[in-house]
């Protein structure tokens, strides 16, 4: 017999027992619970940009330096000078017309003209002083910190 038909075996409406009411009520409570949890969870989920691996600010900052000559020092002490060609969200950097700062110590990459440096291995980036607006950068960092505080 199919429970959901609403008809008893004699074709008359089936008598609905108290246990059926309880079952339906339980289903309702469960559904409401799921919905409430989803609502709560969606409010507590971090916004999309907060989940990015690095500060968007420094990504934008490096983008303003494209075309300038920079020196990138790596975490293996190798320092590479070149023209900043591009940067991505991980602060991976592509340099054009590179030269190694201490060619006598590091003659390993003499035939490399352009190179891609993985952001995670960069220790320092030496920037041209004239092209960095420190005031603007300070303002931007303060603003970002404020936004992060407000979001918490």
């Amino acid at each position: 017999m199919f429970m959901g038909s609403g008809l008893g075996p004699d074709g008359q409406p089936a008598k609905v027992g108290a246990s059926t009411y309880v079952a339906w009520a339980l289903c309702g409570v469960l559904l409401a619970g799921c919905w409430a949890w989803e609502l709560y969870d969606s409010q507590n989920r971090p916004p999309e940009e907060a989940r990015l691996p690095d500060s968007v600010l420094f990504y934008s900052f490096f983008k303003t330096l494209i075309g300038k000559e920079v020196v990138v020092e790596l975490k293996n002490d190798l320092a590479i000078r070149g023209t900043l060609h591009s940067v991505d969200q991980y602060l991976n950097i592509k340099l054009l017309n590179v030269s190694v700062v201490e060619p006598d110590k590091f003659p390993h990459m003499q035939s490399v003209k352009h190179c891609f440096v993985r952001g995670s291995v960069i220790r320092y980036a030496q920037l041209p002083k004239a092209d960095v607006d420190v005031e603007l950068l300070q303002d931007a960092t303060r603003k970002e910190a404020q936004q992060q505080r407000a979001a918490k």
Partner: protein, 96 residues
């Protein structure tokens, strides 16, 4: 993304790994995590007391975590190199 690598696909590249090794080969592909496939690859082994040694490796897939630098090789410059005269301390490993 690592779209900066698109221009290197199909060309010879020089990959420096985090442990200071040098892998050279033709870049066949890459992904957003800088995982890289190198074809016809070989390793250049630098030593303080011996000239550079080349070790053939073949087709390699290098996990992005272990990559420090990917350099586009200028083939003319590379052909001019006399590896037997290059003696250098191997690169230090990356220390985070």
């Amino acid at each position: 993304m690592a779209s900066d690598l698109q221009s290197c696909v199909g060309k010879p590249v020089h990959v420096v790994t985090n442990d200071g090794r040098h892998l050279l080969g033709v870049l066949k592909g890459y992904d957003q995590k800088t995982n890289v496939v190198l074809d016809e690859s070989h390793e250049r082994v630098f030593a303080a007391d011996a000239p550079v040694e080349q070790v053939p490796l073949g087709l390699y897939l290098v996990r992005g975590d272990n990559i420090a630098v990917i350099g586009e090789i200028d083939e003319e410059l590379d052909a001019e190199l006399d590896l037997s005269t290059i003696v250098a301390q191997p690169l230090k490993p990356i220390v985070h």
